[in-house]
C-alpha cells in the first residue's frame, strides 16, 4: 500500500479508530498503552508506509538530538581519525552528526556556524580553519547557551572549552632530539602560523634551540599549506639552499614523507645527510624507509574526548560555565629517520622541557 501523500499519526488514528495521542504513545512504546493496541498500531504503520517525522518532534520538543561538527577538510588522515572518534561517541550517546568542511576558509566557517545554529544543533565541535582570525562567529552559541567545544586547533587564551595537546612541548622535544643527534641547522616546515598548533610547535622549536645555544634563523622556518605540492616545493627549496640544512622538522608526517622522498630521489641519505622528523604518528611514518621520527598524536581519542565533553554539557545543561581545557598526552617516537648516532631506537623521548 502506498499513497503518495505523507502518512501521519492522524491517518493511522482514523484508520484504527483511535486517537492520535494513542498512536503517538503506541509508536514510542509507552507502557501506558495496551500491548494489543500497540501491535495493531505498529502493523498499520508498517502497512500504510508511515514514517516518523523527526523535525515535527524537534519543533515540539525544542531540541534536535543533533551535534554539529565543523572541520577544515575531510580528506586528511588526522581529521578523519578524529572524526571517527567523534562519531562513535556521538552515536553511542544517541545523537546524530551534521558535518561541514570549511576548506580552510574562515568565510565558510562563518557560514556553516550560522547554518548549524539555525539547524538548532544541540552542540557544536569545531576544528578551526587555517585563516580564521577570531571567534566572533561563535559568540551566538554562548549567547544561546549552546555548548561548544574546540578541538586541536583552538584559540588557547579564551573562555571556550577545548581539547588539545601540548604542541609547544612536542615541538621542543623533537627539536631537542634533533640537536642531540648532532643537528645544528634545522629547517622547520609548518602550516599556518595563525593556528595554535603550528605556532606553538614553532615556539617549542625556538625554545629548544635557545636552550641548546643555537641561534634562531628565521629563514629556516617555512610556512606553507602542507599540501602535496607545497611540500614538494619546500623540499626542492631546501635542496637548493647554499648551506644545506642537516635536519628537517615537519609539522605532519605525510608532508615529511614527501620531503624525504624528494631528498632520496636527489641522492641524499636519510638521516646521514639530512635527518627528517614528522608529526602525528600517521601510519605512513611507519611505512616510510627509513621510518620517520614523529610525535604520537591521539587523534581518535581527541575526537572522543571532545565529543564526550560536549555531550556531558548538552545532557546536563548545567555547569556550562566551568570552562575546561583538556590536554591530552602526546609522545615523541624516535625512529631511524633522525638517528645519526646509531643506537637502539626507543620510544621514550627525552622530555627535558
Amino acid at each position: 500500500m502506498n499513497n503518495n501523500k505523507t502518512v501521519t499519526i492522524y491517518d493511522l488514528a482514523e484508520h484504527l479508530n483511535l486517537a492520535p495521542s494513542t498512536i503517538s504513545r503506541g509508536l514510542q512504546d509507552n507502557p501506558a498503552v495496551n500491548a494489543k493496541t500497540r501491535k495493531r498500531i505498529m502493523a498499520a504503520a508498517q502497512d500504510m508506509g508511515y514514517r516518523f517525522n523527526t523535525f515535527a518532534r524537534n519543533l515540539r520538543q525544542q531540541r534536535t538530538n543533533m551535534i554539529g561538527v565543523i572541520v577544515p577538510r575531510l580528506n586528511s588522515y588526522f581529521i578523519s581519525t578524529m572524526l571517527a572518534g567523534i562519531e562513535k561517541e556521538i552515536n553511542s550517546a544517541g545523537y546524530d552528526m551534521l558535518i561541514s568542511q570549511s576548506l580552510e576558509l574562515e568565510q565558510n566557517e562563518i557560514k556553516y556556524a550560522k547554518a548549524m545554529l539555525n539547524n538548532r544543533v544541540d552542540g557544536l565541535i569545531v576544528n578551526l580553519a587555517a585563516n580564521t582570525r577570531n571567534l566572533d562567529h561563535f559568540r551566538e552559541y554562548t549567547r544561546h547557551n549552546i555548548p561548544l567545544v574546540f578541538v586541536d586547533r583552538v584559540f588557547e587564551n579564551d573562555d571556550f572549552n577545548k581539547v588539545m595537546i601540548n604542541n609547544r612541548k612536542a615541538g621542543y622535544d623533537i627539536t631537542s632530539h634533533l640537536v642531540e643527534q648532532g643537528c645544528r641547522r634545522i629547517v622547520h616546515l609548518t602550516g599556518s602560523l595563525m593556528r595554535n598548533v603550528y605556532q606553538e610547535r614553532k615556539l617549542g622549536y625556538q625554545q629548544a634551540l635557545a636552550a641548546k645555544k643555537i641561534a634562531y634563523d628565521e629563514t629556516l622556518v617555512m610556512e606553507t599549506e602542507l599540501t602535496e605540492e607545497a611540500s614538494m616545493e619546500a623540499a626542492q627549496r631546501i635542496l637548493q639552499m647554499e648551506d644545506r640544512p642537516d635536519a628537517l622538522f615537519v609539522s605532519n608526517d605525510m608532508s615529511a614523507a614527501i620531503c624525504m622522498k624528494v631528498f632520496k630521489d636527489a641522492g641524499l641519505r636519510i638521516p646521514e645527510d639530512i635527518a627528517v622528523a614528522g608529526f602525528n604518528n600517521e601510519i605512513i611514518s611507519r611505512l616510510s624507509d627509513p621510518m620517520i621520527t614523529t610525535i604520537n598524536y591521539p587523534g581518535e581519542e581527541m575526537g572522543r574526548t571532545a565529543a564526550r565533553q560536549l555531550i556531558n554539557l548538552v545532557d546536563q545543561k548545567s555547569s556550562g560555565d566551568l570552562t575546561k581545557s583538556i590536554i591530552l598526552k602526546s609522545q615523541l617516537m624516535v625512529r631511524e629517520s633522525t638517528l645519526k648516532i646509531k643506537q637502539q631506537p626507543n620510544n621514550d623521548g627525552p622530555s627535558t622541557y
Copy 2:
C-alpha cells in the same frame, strides 16, 4: 540583550508593531517588503538574538535541504577523499550533509538508514558495509520516492542508481601486467568478497590468469579486513608459504605498502623477489620505496558524480525511474614495484580486456 526564551518572529512582530508575516517576509529578503521596514526587522532580529528555526520551516515546507550519507568508515583515505567530493557538490547546491559510519556492519547501516529516513533527508548516498547481505533496508526510500545513489560499493544487478568503476577490468589489467612481467604465482589479498569491488577484482584476476593459461589456485586468494594488523599477518603468511609466490596483488595501496614493508624487513627485494601491486593510487603508493604499481581510482570524482546525480534527482523530482549506472574510468599506473623486466615505467597500462 538576551532573554533565555527563544525569540520568534512573533516577538519581533510585537516589538516592532508589525505582523509576523511581514517579519517572515522581511527576513527572507522578499521584495514585497519596504526597504526601511526590512532594515528595522534585521536590526531588531540581531538585537534581540533572534535565530531562524530551520525545522519549523522544514515542517511547513515538507523538505529539509539535507542529504544523508552512509559510509563504512570515515578514517580511510579513499572514503574521506570521496566524502570531500560529495561535500563540495552538496554544499554548492545549497544542501547540508548528514553523515553516519556503519563501521562495516550491516546492522548499523540498517539503523542509520532508518534514522535518516525519519530525519526526512531529501536524498541518500550509500557506500555499503562489508557484510551487508541485501538492500531491503533501502526499499522504504523508493517507496517514498526519496532518491538514492549507491557509490563504489554497490549491488551491481539491481534497479538502484549507482556510480562505480569497472573493477573487473582493473583487476584483469593489473594481473595481466604481473604475468607479463614474468610472475606465475600471484597472491591476491583482498577485502570482503561479499562486496562487488572485491569480488569483481578477484574475477578480473581469475580471468587474466585463465587468459594466460595459468591455473587458478584458490589458496592464493586471501580474504581479510585489510586493516593494518590483518595486512601484516597476511604478509607474514605469504613469507611462510612453502613455494613462495612471486607477486602480490592487494586491493588497496595502504595494505600493499604494509606488506611491502614486511617483505623488505624480511630481506626480500621488490620486485625481484616478489612484485607488489596495489589499488586506489593513494599518495602512499607514490611515497613508498619502490613506488607501487596501482589503479588510479577517482575517489573525489566518484563522490562528486554521485552527489550531482542525487541532487539532480532531488531537484527535478522527475524521471527517477530512469535508473542510471555511471561507470567512471580507472587506469593502471605501472611503477617500480612490479617492473621485473626493466624498462621505462609508463602509465598506459595494457588494456587487452
